[in-house]
């Protein structure tokens, strides 16, 4: 019987039917809840893992993610996309969301990220420090200043006094990494977490003053979330040691 | 400039051997699909035969045993098709100047050559028009001028009057008569009159082969091939111009229409189709037509029709008419043909 129920459930899922009427495995009579989290693209690895743990802890809450650039996410929520939680890659976009009256409750910082130099494997241009990036013969790609990673890079240049002349100012971290991985560029400035996620495809070169420009990741429940208490619970969950250890494993720092 | 071609085109089952003497005009007659246009295409260099050889004067146009091939633009062979195919983006004068220009003449030289040829085809007034502003007959005149302006050593015409309005055909035919005199030329046609008036010699093609050839009158009067027979039989009365008529030495007078200014007493030909001839047992009266007294010499059934031969003249009538008039060899009859059905040409 149990097996049959599972098959029926699977079929219903395949058929795209909503599932609330399917009884829980743990015979909890409450209908299954869904939490929709809009999160910055750089959080994809960590949040997918945290989402699994959250589902286990909450006995059957289904967590759905939408990963994209923070600015895109704000625009989507503004257009009425069904988000319960918004996790931004920078304070600026969270402020934008708050100004647009999209956030219910307080925003909490749950992670930090710093920049690191990424080079193609083997570091063909022998980049050892941030200063090496100012060499005009070195092809450096940065994020455009309009996106968070670019804003952070600009800050690094300012506090260190190193003037980098990039050959390209990319739209996103992915684009910067793409140019580095393909060997078109000798170096790029991206987040520590991005270097980690790229694995052996890039080589990370930490630099001395990286800690002076720290990017904070705020998270908040979205106003008019379907289940405000569940959304608030997820926001709090991110501060727990369990979630923090996952974030650390992906290279994020503590707030 | 004599032309000689021996060629085989397997795909179209064409295998011909043809010769055109310098200054001679040869008409190629034959049913659709006989391979007439294929021969022209091979001579022009537009189609590559599977084997064979062709020469124009001392030049080898192609010799496929040695893979020699002279490209179309270097052959000096102009091809005038059924459609005038005037370049739509060029004015009339620039169309005609196209050949001289391509031969390396300057723009002004080419234009003056073009003007001369436009004059020659009576189309000088059309020089500045666009091809889209011309009638079919005018366009074909310009196409003739354009072909001649290229100073071809051999002129080929592929049914040049087939697409023309029937009313302008005589005038264009007149023009071609003038143009083809003393020119080495090949004309493909369906129309016996073209062969008769334009060609010195006729070649009949059927099924990709030449089945008959000889001087035009000989082929038309004593055809040996099926196609020759089917197109022959046109009534030809040769004599001297007398007013609007042709008078034979025997005293027969046939009135008709002509587009030419014929000098009195010049040699001329009255041409009319057997289907235009009516047969009477008693002399008809009234309407203005040619009436010729004759005696039936032969009855030749041709499907639903019967060809009645009475001396040199043939008439096509239906079988019931033959029965009603009780026609048989030896019957005395009167043959009538309207003057408007008779064409008179200088010969």
């Amino acid at each position: 019987m149990k097996r049959l129920a599972l098959i029926v459930a699977a079929l219903l899922t395949l058929a795209g039917c909503s599932q609330p009427d399917v009884p829980e495995r743990d015979s909890d009579s409450a209908p299954q809840k869904t939490l929709t989290v809009f999160a910055a693209a750089s959080l994809q690895g960590a949040f997918t893992e945290i989402g699994k743990r959250f589902e286990d802890d909450t006995h059957g809450v289904k967590v759905k993610f939408n990963f994209a650039g923070s600015a895109d996410l704000v625009a989507q929520i503004e257009q009425g996309a069904p988000a319960d939680v918004f996790a931004s890659a920078d304070a600026a976009n969270m402020t934008k969301a708050m100004d647009a009256d999209l956030i219910g409750g307080q925003a909490q910082d749950f992670a930090t990220n710093t920049l690191e130099i990424a080079t193609p494997p083997g570091n063909p241009a022998d980049i050892e420090s941030l200063k090496d990036l100012s060499d005009p013969d070195v092809k450096v790609v940065l994020c455009a200043s309009q996106v968070p990673c670019g804003a952070a890079a600009a800050k690094v240049e300012k506090v260190t006094g190193v003037d980098i002349k990039p050959v390209s100012e990319e739209q996103s971290v992915t684009d910067v990494l793409g140019k580095v991985i393909s060997g078109e560029a000798d170096a790029g400035l991206v987040y520590v977490t991005d270097v980690k996620a790229a694995g052996s495809k890039v080589h990370g070169v930490p630099f001395r003053d990286a800690g002076r420009v720290v990017n904070t990741y705020p998270v908040a429940a979205v106003r008019h979330a379907k289940d405000e208490s569940l959304a608030a619970y997820f926001v709090d969950y991110l501060a727990r040691p369990d979630a923090q250890s996952v974030l650390a494993a992906f290279g994020f720092g503590k707030p | 400039m004599s032309m000689r071609i021996e060629a085989t085109v397997l795909e179209r089952d064409v295998d011909v051997s043809l010769e055109v003497a310098a200054g001679e005009t040869v008409a190629i007659l034959g049913p659709n699909g006989a391979g007439k246009s294929t021969v022209l295409a091979a001579i022009a260099g537009v189609l590559r035969p599977d084997s064979g050889r062709a020469t124009l004067g001392d030049d080898v146009l192609f010799d496929l045993s040695s893979a020699a091939w002279r490209p179309a633009h270097a052959r000096g062979v102009a091809l005038l098709a059924q459609d005038p195919l005037l370049f739509p983006h060029l004015s009339v004068v620039d169309n005609v100047a196209f050949g001289p220009r391509s031969a390396g003449r300057t723009r002004s030289q080419s234009r003056s050559t073009a003007a001369t040829w436009l004059e020659a085809v009576d189309a000088a007034d059309l020089a500045d028009r666009r091809p889209s502003e011309l009638s079919g007959g005018q366009a074909q005149r310009i196409a003739v001028a354009r072909a001649l302006a290229a100073e071809p050593r051999l002129l080929m015409l592929d049914e040049p009057m087939a697409a023309l309005d029937i009313t302008v055909v005589p005038a264009v035919r007149q023009l071609l008569r003038r143009v083809l005199a003393d020119r080495t030329a090949v004309i493909v046609t369906h129309d016996v009159l073209d062969a008769l008036l334009l060609a010195d010699r006729v070649v009949v093609m059927e099924g990709g082969r030449i089945v008959e050839q000889g001087p035009t009158r000989e082929v038309l009067e004593r055809p040996r091939s099926a196609f020759g027979a089917s197109i022959a039989g046109l009534n030809l009365v040769r004599g001297r111009v007398d007013g609007g008529a042709v008078r034979t030495p025997e005293g027969l007078v046939v009135s008709g229409l002509s587009d030419e200014d014929l000098a009195p007493d010049a040699t001329a030909l009255a041409v009319f189709s057997p289907s235009a001839v009516s047969i009477f047992v008693q002399r008809p009266t009234g309407s203005p037509r040619n009436v010729i007294a004759a005696t039936v010499t032969e009855l030749e059934p041709r499907g639903a029709q019967v060809r009645v031969r009475a001396g040199a003249i043939s008439a096509d009538v239906t079988a019931p008419v033959v029965a009603e008039l009780d026609l048989a060899p030896g019957t005395g009859v009167f043959l009538a043909v309207k003057a408007s059905e008779v064409a008179i040409y200088g010969a």
Binding site: A71 | P71, A78, R130, A150
Partner: protein, 255 residues
């Protein structure tokens, strides 16, 4: 034509016009000229016009011979060659960009050759032109091949028998006859080059005045200044409409 066809036809027209109209309604007209006349916008527009014009010239130089070969010859595998040539029409531009990267990039197939010649393609305006030409070339070939086939070879045969050499036939007969198709192909190519985004961002990068064309600028402005993005979008639409309109006008007034 049955009358009911009008209904879906009208729906289709609305489907195209409505989004453009919606775009116009979102423009902040009071700031419109300030938004489109900023330095970065001007640089992007000027770069787009320059590169699109250069790509169009390349499309003519390469596309006309390609169309001639496809329309006027027959050889084994011709339909296969045609499919390959048309591939950029259906290929996602990003894929095109990646393919170009592995061809002209530093580590690409021709990378070393290009290096030896002392040329730098990566991150240069040349790379933008290459990306645009890659995606626009099929438009020229398709448009012109169709016109060549419709025009047929009869005029060319006549020209040859009048003594014109093949090059003369091409210059004085073939090209003038297919001029409408050539013009249509050039306009389509220019418009496609103007709108090119994916291959450019993947292959050429994004740097103001060098590789950041109007579409890239629009996409970047969206991050921080959606109003500017909308204004620039409208500018792009206007430029495209002008180009198409100008050519149409020129063609209909020609004899």
């Amino acid at each position: 034509m049955p009358r009911w066809v009008l209904l879906p036809a009208a729906l289709g027209a609305a489907f195209i016009v409505l989004p453009l109209a919606a775009l116009a309604t979102r423009v902040e007209w009071t700031h419109f000229f300030a938004l489109i006349s900023s330095d970065s916008s001007q640089a992007a527009l000027w770069l787009s016009l320059r590169t699109s014009a250069a790509s169009t010239v390349l499309c003519v130089v390469l596309g006309v011979p390609m169309a001639l070969v496809l329309a006027r010859t027959s050889f084994r595998g011709q339909s296969f060659v045609r499919s390959i040539v048309l591939l950029p029409l259906v290929l996602p531009p990003v894929v095109g960009g990646i393919a170009l990267l592995y061809t002209f990039g530093r580590k690409g197939l021709l990378g070393e050759t290009i290096d030896v010649l002392g040329l730098q393609i990566a991150f240069s305006t040349t790379a933008v032109v290459i990306a645009q030409t890659f995606v626009a070339l099929p438009f020229m070939v398709v448009s012109l091949e169709g016109t060549l086939r419709t025009a047929g070879e009869r005029y060319e045969v006549v020209a040859a028998t009048l003594g014109a050499r093949p090059t003369t036939v091409l210059r004085r007969v073939t090209l003038p006859l297919v001029l409408p198709g050539l013009a249509a192909g050039a306009v389509l190519s220019f418009a496609r080059a103007l709108g090119e985004f994916g291959a450019t961002i993947t292959f050429a990068g994004s740097l103001e005045g060098v590789t950041r064309t109007l579409p890239l600028e629009i996409y970047l402005q969206r991050e921080t200044d959606p109003d500017a993005a909308v204004a620039l979008s409208l500018l792009l639409v206007v430029v495209a409409v002008l180009v198409i309109g100008l050519v149409r006008g020129a063609r209909s007034s020609a004899p």
